[in-house]
């Protein structure tokens, strides 16, 4: 009994030092805030780049237009996917934006540019899964390529690629932990910081892991609801 009590008291003390002492819990949540900001901005940049590139590739394949843009997109995707993201981060942080001191924004830009290449491939698959007849029907009625893309192709492409796209967003939330590599204070960086003061890794790592897990679970739930909303024109949800 005595032994067990001592064990729990020690454990509590370790937790206390890692979380409550000197308001250290604030650091976790600041780190979490930074992680979410980086992931959010990166998602916006990545989706924008990805969808634009995917549209360029789709239009190029169907009409043969936008040849130069298509080549640029291909080179971009090849380079981004062919090099480690940690090197891309260092190149942006230490060379391209070496004059900036806003590490969070640099981290967000890095992951946005990186994610763009992956989203481009996901979205391209989404566009290609839309039946060619949809574009032909729109064009045969006299609508332009742009009008048909906007009203018909893009909504269907988005619906078709939502699951892999959401997977990419969730990966992004966790993957941004790499920004700690150049000293940006995200959630992944916090355990090391606290350990350097308490010399105890157990709770800092555990707490950070739990926070990531909770965020991902909430995100999964939200994305699931969105996905359901978009599938309303499927057969099983026929009516309205």
């Amino acid at each position: 009994m005595e032994v067990l009590r001592d064990f729990f008291i020690k454990l509590w003390e370790r937790f206390d030092r890692s979380f409550l002492e000197q308001d250290r819990w604030k650091m976790y949540f600041e780190g979490l805030g930074n992680t979410l900001i980086i992931a959010l901005i990166a998602t916006i940049i990545g989706t924008t780049i990805g969808v634009i590139f995917a549209m360029i590739k789709y239009v190029n394949k169907r009409t043969g237009r936008l040849n130069i843009l298509n080549k640029i997109a291909n080179v971009y995707i090849t380079i981004i996917r062919g090099t480690p993201v940690v090197l891309q981060l260092m190149i942006l942080y230490f060379i391209v934006f070496s004059g900036w001191d806003n590490g969070i924004l640099i981290g967000a830009i890095t992951f946005g540019l990186n994610s763009g290449a992956y989203v481009a491939e996901i979205a391209r698959a989404g566009f290609e899964s839309v039946d060619d007849g949809q574009m032909e029907a729109g064009r045969s009625l006299g609508m332009s390529t742009a009008q048909t893309m906007f009203h018909i192709i893009i909504p269907q492409a988005i619906r078709n690629c939502l699951p892999p796209l959401f997977n990419e967003f969730i990966t992004l939330v966790k993957e941004t932990a790499i920004v700690g590599y150049v000293g940006i204070m995200d959630l992944g960086k916090i355990p090391g910081l606290i350990q350097s003061r308490t010399f105890d890794y157990l709770f800092p790592l555990l707490i950070a892991a739990i926070l990531y897990l909770v965020v991902v679970m909430i995100l999964t739930k939200i994305l699931h609801i969105i996905e359901k909303h978009f599938s309303k024109s499927d057969r099983r949800n026929g009516g309205k």
Partner: protein
């Protein structure tokens, strides 16, 4: 020029090849206003490609297509403008999957003419209301007004195709192009689609129909065209065409399908 004597569509020396594969070989044809032309032929004969060249869904590799006063094959021609007057019906229906039935019919008129509504003194709302009324009356015509708010995935093939036809009619086209409109249908649904097409024919719509329905060709066509190996092997009024084929390939083909 006298409108009555000028053909609505003039096809002049039309050629189309995919790579080295010649699909259409120097085809010329006039289609008059109000005329019903039915194109038949074995698969791979180029009849669908011919139809799809008429509204430039396929880009011809040679020749000209005149539609009214416009040369559609001229790269400077705004093809969208002329496609608004050429309705097309596809084998696979191609209803917009992400739109309800009513939205399917209203989309093109709203998108294309909606922005001009202001010039004619109507608000966008008023124009939308007009489009909706017109779409609903088209749906009533085919007896599907109760399907206005459902998505295409819940409909039968015959319903889809009839909606695809009225979707094209909503643009009030001068000519309707039908690309094997009944080939993807279950047999019991072929009738309802052909009946609607016959109605259109009786109303005087100009029609070009690629089909395997010989009964329809006999009953409705002013002229039947037999395509084979990328050329027009024989054409004529249905009576003569079916009872007394001159081209041996046509005789052989008719023997198989009749």
């Amino acid at each position: 020029m006298d409108n009555n004597s000028t053909p609505l569509i003039q096809v002049k020396n039309l050629s189309k090849s995919f790579g080295t594969n010649l699909i259409l070989n120097d085809i010329s044809m006039d289609i008059n206003k109000g005329e019903k032309v039915v194109v038949i032929g074995p698969s791979g004969s180029g009849k669908s490609t011919f139809l799809r060249c008429l509204n430039l869904l396929e880009t011809p590799t040679g020749g000209d297509i005149l539609f009214g006063d416009a040369n559609l094959t001229d790269p400077k021609t705004n093809i969208n403008l002329h496609r608004q007057n050429m309705g097309m019906v596809f084998q696979q229906f191609n209803l917009f999957n992400n739109k309800t039935v009513l939205q399917n019919i209203m989309l093109a008129p709203m998108t294309i003419y909606g922005k001009n509504a202001k010039k004619s003194g109507k608000s966008k709302k008023q124009y939308e209301e007009e489009c909706r009324e017109k779409a609903m009356s088209l749906l009533k015509r085919i007896g599907l007004e109760d399907k206005a708010d459902v998505y295409p995935s819940t409909l039968s093939g015959g319903q889809k195709q009839r909606i695809a036809i009225v979707r094209a009619l909503a643009m009030e086209p001068d000519v309707m192009l039908f690309d094997e409109p009944t080939s993807a249908l279950d047999p019991e649904m072929v009738g309802e689609v052909l009946d609607l097409m016959k109605e259109l024919a009786e109303e005087g719509m100009t029609m070009v129909v690629v089909t395997h329905e010989m009964g329809f060709a006999k009953e409705v066509a002013d002229r039947v065209v037999f395509m084979c190996d990328g050329i027009i092997a024989e054409e004529g009024a249905p009576n003569e065409f079916f009872s007394n084929p001159k081209n041996p390939r046509l005789a052989q083909f008719l023997q198989k399908v009749l």
